[in-house]
């Protein structure tokens, strides 16, 4: 799964938690969960749980703490997928 595909999956996952239609529509690596998507920390937990389920990966506390924007989230997903695949 490449970066674009991961971002497109993330968009579907985040949709129920964000009212920011414009930010969601133009989602890219620079999109910030709190600043741009106006997601609170409790919803961020649900997004991470949905990510675990969708990508069949496990996110640890340290990774979770870094998942503040799309860029770092994609990087973490890519890393975990690689570990799973190898």
């Amino acid at each position: 799964m490449n970066k674009e595909e991961i971002i497109s999956e993330l968009k579907t996952i985040i949709q129920p938690y964000s009212e920011e239609a414009l930010a969601l529509e133009s989602i890219d690596e620079n999109t910030d969960f709190i600043k741009d998507l106006k997601v609170n920390s409790a919803n961020l937990v649900d997004i991470v749980l949905d990510i675990e389920e969708r990508f069949k990966i496990e996110i640890d506390n340290d990774s979770m703490a870094k998942m503040l924007n799309i860029k770092s989230t994609v990087e973490i997903i890519e890393n975990k997928l690689q570990v799973n695949g190898g």
Binding site: N40, S41, A42, V45, D46, V48, L49, N61, M64
Partner: protein, 148 residues
């Protein structure tokens, strides 16, 4: 942590404490009771000449017993009780019937998950006769206590 210690560690003052007994608490959930004293301040105004427990107070009662008591139990190994508290982050409750002054209620919660400092529970409130009063889902986040 025993139910007694949990009750002692609750962050509420008497005027906003909606837990009398914590009957049971373990890794999976909590059960407790509260009796709505007919002298509680809000009965004189909710409603005028017709005292009924406000739904927001029923929600708070479910959260204090079902979520906060369970949260204290689940974090018993961590020294968080002194510096952190659980703040309600979302609730979705269906109300089936009113609660009148003087009634005793039983609240039971069942953990859905506790991860990344977020506790999410299915919670129900029942009457002495075992009738369902309200039920739903309540979640809270562990946050630093204000002023500390």
């Amino acid at each position: 942590m025993s139910p007694q210690e949990i009750l002692k560690n609750l962050p509420y003052g008497q005027a906003f404490l909606f837990v009398d007994e914590l009957l049971q608490v373990n890794e999976f959930g909590a059960k407790g009771t509260y009796t709505f004293d007919e002298n509680l301040a809000f009965y004189s105004a909710h409603f005028k000449d017709e005292p009924i427990t406000p739904a927001v107070i029923l929600t708070e009662t479910m959260a204090q017993i079902g979520l906060v008591c369970l949260g204290l139990y689940l974090t018993k190994e961590e020294p968080i009780n002194k510096t952190k508290t659980l703040a309600m982050s979302s609730s979705s409750i269906d109300f089936l019937r009113p609660v009148y002054p003087g009634e005793k209620v039983w609240v039971t919660s069942e953990k859905i998950y506790f991860r990344f400092n977020k506790l999410s529970c299915r919670v129900k409130m029942e009457s002495a006769a075992g009738e369902m009063i309200c039920k739903g889902t309540i979640s809270g986040m562990l946050i630093a206590k204000p002023h500390e």
